[in-house]
Symmetry: C2
Subunit: 249 residues, 2 copies
DNA sequence: ACTGTTATCCATAGTTCCGTGGAATATAGG
DNA sequence: CCTATATTCCACGGAACTATGGATAACAGT
């Protein structure tokens, strides 16, 4: 739209920063951006996920596009939105970190929403890498399948939280489970761990989620058949059940 | 205010994040926050620096306080505001980084505002540490004196940009100058370098500014520095004799 | 107590933003 | 060409935000 920059006042600079700020004033826009940091989605899927009307969702996405925080890709009649680069994910991560550090309310909410499993120790990324190499853990991706498809830890098994109870038998009771989800503000993994423990399984959460794993420069696989895993042979094949999630759109 | 968190819906979480987002919708609030990341200031000083009316400034500061991004300290009749912790500075830094990465306009503005010295290579922090140890550079802090007083690179000389021309003779023409300021979005150091070069001096900018230096875990000196500021033998050894200077968290 | 300084609170008017339906656009498939 | 689907554009009423001047509160000095 406006590429003209003439009255080059210093104020213009902060106005540009405010363009980005504008995206994160609205709770729903943050939610949308958070989702888009996990995987690209159509407008309809985003409206569904956030509970907004379609037109409202589109409007929010336009705001985000004006700030260049998202990009689009057209496929037939639908438009897929995605986060415009790694920096965007880093930014929403920073926002979440700041909120947890400064706003006691965030911790309160996480505690009240999260099961009491939140008190348990988390597994560090380096520890997971070691354990995975020796093959005595199952790495569990409890996010929705689309997000697993868009990128996951090599060797991880996809088992969305909503199906966890129904598919419990797919897990080897002899192995410890390490579950992960979207990040520190996401409660999928803690809930999964709580469920698993209630059934007598050993389970812990990974520190942070997949975005942080990616930002740490660790390998990320993008298909159900982990083929891009460079050095990590996989975290214990668990069972072959992982192949289920193939199913392309 | 409102500590009650009862209807613990997931939406509440993003509403909390939006509290922080609210601070960075307004250009002037970003500017204020940026200033507060450098040094604490009174409301009056902030109003002066940003060109806002006093009441308006105060209102903005209230918004920032509600988001817990700033804290206050009273001294006699005036109130000093400061950034509420290192995380806040990291966040505004992340905002600036994102803007530079995604918004071409920001680069344009920096280029059009900045002198053509922007094309020159910058000195890395590690290089500066080495050079300083061998003592063949002058480290120049070109920010306002209050900011120098609130924290500066050990051994740096305070010479605010506005006084640079008048006090040029204080610099040893035989040594190279490394100037620094507030960060990547600040133009004080580039301008200083341009001025120095026009006089035939060798001069370069440090990468980033003081906040990034601090975040890198490098030593920061906080002595109030007498009015002369010239005393320090240029480029003193950087290992922190400057003590920890407790004060301020 | 009185006075001047500094900051916050309050009411107001002008502006922008949000969610909403309904219309318009773009694409795929008869 | 016509229809169906997915998305964007548009107009509008209601809500929230911003800047501002005047009033109020906290404090220091005489």
């Amino acid at each position: 739209m406006e590429y003209r920059i003439q009255a080059s006042d210093r104020a213009d600079l902060y106005e540009q920063l405010a363009r980005i700020g504008k995206v994160v004033v609205h709770p729903k826009r943050i939610e949308l951006l958070d989702l888009l940091c996990q995987a690209e989605r159509s407008v309809e899927a985003l409206a569904e996920a956030t509970g907004l009307k379609l037109t409202t969702t589109s409007a929010h996405l336009q705001v985000m596009r004006q700030a260049r925080l998202v990009e689009t890709r057209r496929e037939g009649t639908r438009v897929y939105y995605r986060a415009a680069g790694e920096e965007v994910c880093r930014f929403v991560g920073a926002l979440g970190d700041l909120a947890r550090a400064r706003l006691a309310e965030v911790d309160q909410i996480l505690r009240s929403l999260g099961t009491d499993a939140s008190g348990t120790e988390r597994v560090s990324r380096t520890e997971l890498l070691e354990r995975a190499r020796s093959g005595d853990v199952v790495v569990l991706d409890v996010r929705p399948v689309e997000e697993y498809a868009a990128g996951h830890i090599p060797g991880a098994v996809s088992l969305p939280l909503e199906h966890l109870e129904a598919r419990l038998d797919e897990l080897d009771p002899g192995l410890e489970v390490v579950a992960y989800c979207r990040g520190p503000l996401c409660l999928l993994a803690p809930e999964a761990v709580a469920t698993l423990r209630a059934r007598g399984l050993r389970a812990r959460c990974l520190e942070d989620g997949l975005p942080e794993w990616r930002q740490a420069g660790l390998p990320v696989a993008t298909h159900s058949a982990g083929c891009s895993g460079r050095d990590t042979p996989a975290a214990a094949p668990a069972d072959g059940h992982e192949a289920r999630s193939g199913r392309r759109r």
